[in-house]
C-alpha cells in the first residue's frame, strides 16, 4: 500500500510499486487529465507536477512519490471555477484535439509558479519537451503568457 497526495487529497493505493504514476491517476483515481502518449517520456502528454516540478507521470514509478505533493489539471480548478491557466487556455481557445493540452498546462503551471512574468523565449524553452500534433503551438504560447498575467494579477 502506498499513500499518494494528489491535489491535496490523500489516497491509499494498492498497486505494484513499479507502476508508473500515470496508470494510478487514470486507473485507481479515475482522473482523466493526464494522458498516455508514449510511455517513454518523449511527448509530455502525461505531465503532472510533483512538489512544484513538472514530471513525466508515464515513467515515474509510484514508489518514488510517497509523501510528495502531486498536482494534476484537476487540481487547478473546475469547469465552474477554472484556475488561471485553465481560464487562459479557454480564453485563447488554445486547443484543437486538446489531447496534449493538460500536459502543456501542467508544464506551464510549473513554470509560472516560479516565474509568472516568463518571456516568450522562456515559455518556448520550458514547453520544448511537450509535443502538440495539431499545431496549436502559437495559441498555447499566448495562453501561457496570458495565464502568467492572470497569476501575477491575483
Amino acid at each position: 500500500m502506498i499513500t499518494l497526495e494528489v491535489n491535496g487529497h490523500r489516497h491509499d493505493v494498492d498497486v505494484d510499486p513499479s507502476t508508473p504514476l500515470l496508470y494510478v491517476l487514470r486507473g485507481e483515481l479515475a482522473l482523466n487529465a493526464a494522458k498516455f502518449g508514449c510511455g517513454l517520456g518523449q511527448c509530455g502528454s502525461c505531465t503532472v507536477m510533483v512538489d512544484g516540478e513538472a514530471i513525466y507521470s508515464c515513467i515515474t514509478p509510484v514508489s518514488t512519490l510517497a509523501g510528495r505533493r502531486i498536482t494534476t489539471v484537476e487540481g487547478l480548478g473546475t469547469v465552474d471555477k477554472p484556475g488561471p491557466v485553465q481560464r487562459a487556455f479557454i480564453e485563447e481557445q488554445a486547443a484543437q484535439c486538446g489531447y496534449c493540452i493538460p500536459g502543456m498546462m501542467m508544464r506551464a503551471q510549473a513554470l509560472l509558479e516560479k516565474n509568472p512574468g516568463a518571456s516568450e523565449d522562456e515559455i518556448r524553452k520550458a514547453l520544448e519537451p511537450n509535443l502538440c500534433r495539431c499545431g496549436t503551438h502559437m495559441r498555447i504560447l499566448r495562453a501561457v503568457a496570458r495565464a502568467g498575467k492572470l497569476m501575477g494579477a491575483k
Binding site: G39, V73, C97, C100
Partner: protein, 729 residues
C-alpha cells in the same frame, strides 16, 4: 409532395412516406437537395424538437478537434432563431445520426453544414406555418424568436407546442428561406468551442477517458513487420501474471486482457517476449526508385492546347512516407451485450467501420452499434479503425464485459497507415513575354484511401487466422482526386498535360493523410512556379498573378502579399522569403501564404520567422475556428516538410517513437503566424482543414531557396539534407 401541398392538407400532419428515397432527392425541376440532405432528406433526421422545447441537432460528421460540433451548432441556432446554448448536438452514431460517410476531405461544412443550414431554416418555416394556422395570422406577419413564433399583437407559441404530431417528419425542399445576413446573431460570430472547457479541466473528453462498469483493459501484440507469421506463442507466463484475465490468439492476432491497464501492458510485454515470428518483409529503402519500378495505371487527366515547343525546364520532386502521429495512441471500447456489439471509437466514419466490424465478427450490421467519441488528433486514416476492430474482436470473446484497448506508441508508429511516398515531375516552357506557354506534370502515387468498409482494411482483419480481403486499392476520381489531387495547375497556361500514374501495389500500408496528394502536388507545382519565376526574372507573386484569372484566387494572393509587406521586404544575410498559393482540390478553399526563414548553412537548420497567410473558405461560420484550423495546418505542414520521414531497415520500421520520428517542437514553430480569414457571406461553405498543407510546404522550400540560392526538391528539408545539399554547391 411539395411543402406547399403538404401544408395544404391542414391538420393532417402525419403523412405516408412510401416514395423511394431517390425520388425525394430531387424536386420536379430536378434541383438537387443541398449538402447531405440529398442522401438523408427527412428534416427530423437532422432536427428534433421536443414538446418541452428542447432542440437536438444530429450530424453524421465527427468532432476531431477541428471544431465542427461548434460550427454546426452555430448554424442550427442561427436558422432556428434560438440562442446558441439551446441546441444540443449529437454527432456520428450509427443508431442516431444520418450516414454522412467519412469526416474527411474538408467536407464537413459543405456536406453537414449545408444540410443543417437548410434543414433548420425549413424547420423554422414549418413552425411559422403551423403557428399561422393556430393563431389565424398570415405567416408573413409572424417571426421566429428565441424558440417561439411571435405574432404582431404579442401572442406567442413556443416551438414545443407546435411540434405535436409529425411536423418535421417531412422531406427537405431544394430551396430555403435563410435568416438574412444583416440580422445574424450566431453565424459568422466568434463563438467559443463547446468542447474546450471539458478538455482543460479533466472532463471525460475522449474515448481514452471512457470508463464503463466492469471494464477490462486489453493490449495487442503486433507482428514485428508486415506479413510476419506467428510461429509460436507461449502464453503461460503472461497468463500467470497478476490481473491477467485472458490471452486471445486468432492466427497472427494476439492480445491480452487484464483487470487494470498497467497489468495489461506488463502482460503484453511478457507475451511479446514469448512470441516467435517468421519474417515478413519490408521494401528497399530506396523507395522512390522502387515505386517507379512498379506497374502503374496511367491516366491523362488534363490535356488542353497543343504542344508547340519542347520543355525548357524540368524538375523532379520526392516525398517520403509521413505518419499521422496522433499524440494519443488509438483506442476503442467494445461491449457485447444481449447479442449486440457496441463499439465506442474515434473513427472518422462510424457507418463504414460498422460494416467492417460486422464482417470481422460475423454479425449482421444492425447488431453492431458504432458510437463516435473524440480521440487524439486524427489528420486522416490513422489507427482509430484498427483499434475499433481490435476492441470488437476482443469484446465478442468476453460477452457482457466492456473491453478497452489502446495501442502502444510503437504500435501506432509502426502500424498506422502512412501518407504515401510520391514522385512528381514537372516540365514547362516560357514565352518571350515571360509567361508559361506549356506545362506538363506527372504524378506517381499509391492509393490515398484504404479506409474500412471491409474487414480486410482493419489490422485485425488482416491478422486473424482466416484473413479478410481488403477493398482493392483505387483512386478517387477527378475533380477531387486522390494521389492526383491538385495536380492540375489552377494557372492559366495555353498548353497543359497532366498524367496521373497510379501504382496499385503498396510497399507499405498507406491511406488518407490530411490533404492526400494535394500536399505533394502543390509542393511540386508551387516550387516549380518559383523556379520558373527565377528563370523569367520575375517576382514570384507577380509571376503567379500573371497566370491567375479567378478573382478569389487573386484576392488571397494580394491579401497575403500586402499583409506580409512583400514589396517592401528587406533582405538580411542568411534570410529568405517564400510564397505559395493553391485552391484546395481546385474547387474548395483558396489559400495563400508568405514566410521568411533564416538558414544556418553549417547545421542546415531552418528557423521560420514571420508567417502571413489568408484563407477564403466561403461563408465563415466560426472565424476563430477557421483561424485555429489554419494555424494548425501551417504548423503541421512545416513539421512534415522540415523534419518528417518514416524510416525502416530490413527488419522493421525504425521510426517507432518520437526520438526516431521527430516532429516540430516549440523552439522551431514560427516566430509569428498571422491568419486572415476572408469571409464571403452567402457563398457556399468550402471547408478549411486541409487548405494549408500544400502551400505551406512550397512556401518553406521557396524561402529556403531564396535564402541559400539552392533549390531542394526532396521532402523533408531536414537539417541533414539542407546541410548536405549546401555543402555540395
Amino acid at each position: 409532395m411539395r411543402r406547399r401541398e403538404f401544408l395544404a392538407t391542414g391538420g393532417a400532419l402525419v403523412i405516408a412516406f412510401s416514395i423511394p428515397r431517390a425520388a425525394w432527392a430531387q424536386d420536379a425541376e430536378g434541383a438537387k437537395l443541398p449538402g447531405s440532405l440529398g442522401k438523408t432528406p427527412m428534416l427530423d433526421s437532422w432536427i428534433r424538437i421536443g414538446t418541452d422545447g428542447s432542440i437536438t441537432v444530429f450530424t453524421g460528421k465527427c468532432e476531431l478537434g477541428q471544431g465542427v460540433r461548434t460550427a454546426l451548432q452555430q448554424v442550427a441556432a442561427e436558422q432556428l432563431a434560438v440562442a446558441f446554448d439551446r441546441v444540443t448536438m449529437v454527432t456520428a452514431d450509427t443508431e442516431r445520426t444520418p450516414d454522412e460517410g467519412f469526416t474527411s476531405g474538408s467536407n464537413s461544412m459543405k456536406d453537414s453544414g449545408t444540410a443543417i443550414l437548410n434543414a433548420a431554416a425549413q424547420a423554422r418555416e414549418l413552425l411559422i406555418a403551423e403557428a399561422a394556422k393556430r393563431l389565424a395570422v398570415p405567416s408573413t406577419q409572424l417571426v421566429a424568436r428565441d424558440g417561439s413564433i411571435v405574432a404582431p399583437d404579442g401572442r406567442r407559441v413556443a416551438y414545443g407546442e407546435l411540434v405535436e404530431g409529425q411536423l418535421l417528419h417531412v422531406n427537405a425542399q431544394p430551396h430555403s428561406t435563410l435568416i438574412d445576413r444583416a440580422s445574424r446573431r450566431v453565424m459568422g460570430k466568434p463563438v467559443q468551442r463547446v468542447d474546450i472547457p471539458g478538455k482543460v479541466t479533466g472532463g471525460v473528453a475522449y474515448v481514452q477517458d471512457l470508463r464503463l462498469p466492469g471494464m477490462v483493459h486489453a493490449r495487442v501484440v503486433r507482428p514485428p513487420q508486415p506479413g510476419a507469421k506467428l510461429r509460436s506463442l507461449d502464453a503461460s507466463a503472461a497468463r500467470a501474471m497478476p490481473g491477467v484475465v485472458d490471452v486471445v490468439r486468432d492466427g497472427n492476432f494476439v492480445a491480452v486482457i487484464a483487470r487494470s491497464e498497467f497489468e495489461a501492458v506488463r502482460a503484453m510485454r511478457a507475451l511479446s517476449d514469448s512470441a516467435t515470428w517468421d519474417d515478413g518483409s519490408l521494401p528497399p529503402q530506396e523507395i522512390h526508385a522502387h515505386l517507379l519500378g512498379l506497374a502503374s495505371k496511367d491516366t491523362v487527366i488534363a490535356d488542353r492546347g497543343t504542344a508547340t515547343s519542347p520543355a525548357q525546364y524540368e524538375s523532379t520532386y520526392h516525398r517520403p512516407y509521413h505518419m499521422h502521429g496522433a499524440i494519443g495512441p488509438s483506442c476503442a471500447v467494445g461491449l457485447l451485450q444481449d447479442g449486440k456489439l457496441t463499439v465506442w471509437t474515434h473513427t472518422q466514419g462510424v457507418y463504414p467501420l460498422r460494416a467492417a466490424i460486422a464482417e470481422l465478427v460475423k454479425m449482421p450490421p444492425d447488431k453492431v452499434h458504432c458510437i463516435h467519441m473524440e480521440g487524439s488528433g486524427c489528420y486522416g486514416h490513422n489507427g482509430a479503425d484498427d483499434a475499433g476492430g481490435d476492441a470488437a474482436l476482443l469484446a465478442v470473446t468476453h460477452p457482457g464485459r466492456p473491453v478497452r484497448v489502446q495501442h502502444m506508441r510503437e504500435q501506432e508508429h509502426s502500424w498506422e497507415p502512412y501518407g504515401p511516398a510520391m514522385v512528381t515531375k514537372a516540365r514547362a516552357s516560357l514565352g518571350a513575354d515571360g509567361r508559361i506557354v506549356s506545362w506538363e506534370f506527372d504524378v506517381w502515387s499509391n492509393t490515398h484511401s484504404t479506409r474500412p468498409g471491409k474487414a480486410g482494411n482493419l489490422a485485425a482483419g488482416m491478422l486473424v487466422a482466416s484473413p479478410f480481403a481488403a477493398s482493392p486499392p483505387g483512386t478517387i476520381p477527378q475533380p477531387e482526386g486522390g494521389g492526383d489531387r491538385n495536380s492540375i495547375p489552377l494557372y492559366s497556361v495555353p498548353r497543359v498535360k497532366v498524367t496521373s500514374r497510379f501504382i496499385p501495389e503498396m510497399p507499405l500500408r498507406v491511406s488518407a493523410l490530411r490533404g492526400l496528394g494535394a500536399y505533394m502536388n502543390v509542393f511540386s507545382i508551387e516550387s516549380f512556379m518559383d523556379e520558373l519565376a527565377v528563370a523569367a526574372k520575375a517576382d514570384p507573386v507577380g509571376f503567379r498573378l500573371r497566370h491567375l484569372d479567378d478573382p478569389r484566387a487573386v484576392s488571397v494572393v494580394q491579401a497575403v502579399a500586402e499583409r506580409f509587406g512583400w514589396s517592401t521586404w528587406q533582405r538580411e544575410p542568411g534570410h529568405g522569403r517564400g510564397f505559395a498559393f493553391a485552391r484546395y482540390k481546385n474547387l474548395a478553399a483558396y489559400f495563400a501564404i508568405a514566410m521568411d526563414v533564416e538558414v544556418t548553412r553549417e547545421s542546415g537548420e531552418i528557423r521560420v520567422g514571420r508567417v502571413c497567410c489568408a484563407i477564403d473558405s466561403g461563408e465563415a461560420v466560426n472565424p476563430d475556428g477557421i483561424r485555429n484550423q489554419t494555424e494548425g495546418g501551417v504548423v503541421q505542414s512545416l513539421s512534415w516538410t522540415m523534419l518528417e520521414a518514416v524510416t525502416w531497415d530490413a527488419k522493421r520500421i525504425t521510426s517507432r517513437d518520437w526520438g526516431r520520428y521527430p516532429v516540430i517542437r516549440f523552439q522551431h514553430v514560427p516566430r509569428s503566424l498571422d491568419v486572415q480569414v476572408i469571409d464571403r457571406p452567402g457563398e457556399p461553405f468550402l471547408g478549411t482543414g486541409e487548405a494549408a498543407q500544400g502551400p505551406t510546404a512550397a512556401a518553406l522550400a521557396n524561402a529556403v531557396a531564396d535564402a541559400t540560392g539552392v533549390r531542394i526538391r526532396d521532402i523533408p528539408l531536414n537539417p541533414a539534407r539542407v546541410a548536405a545539399t549546401l555543402r555540395r554547391v
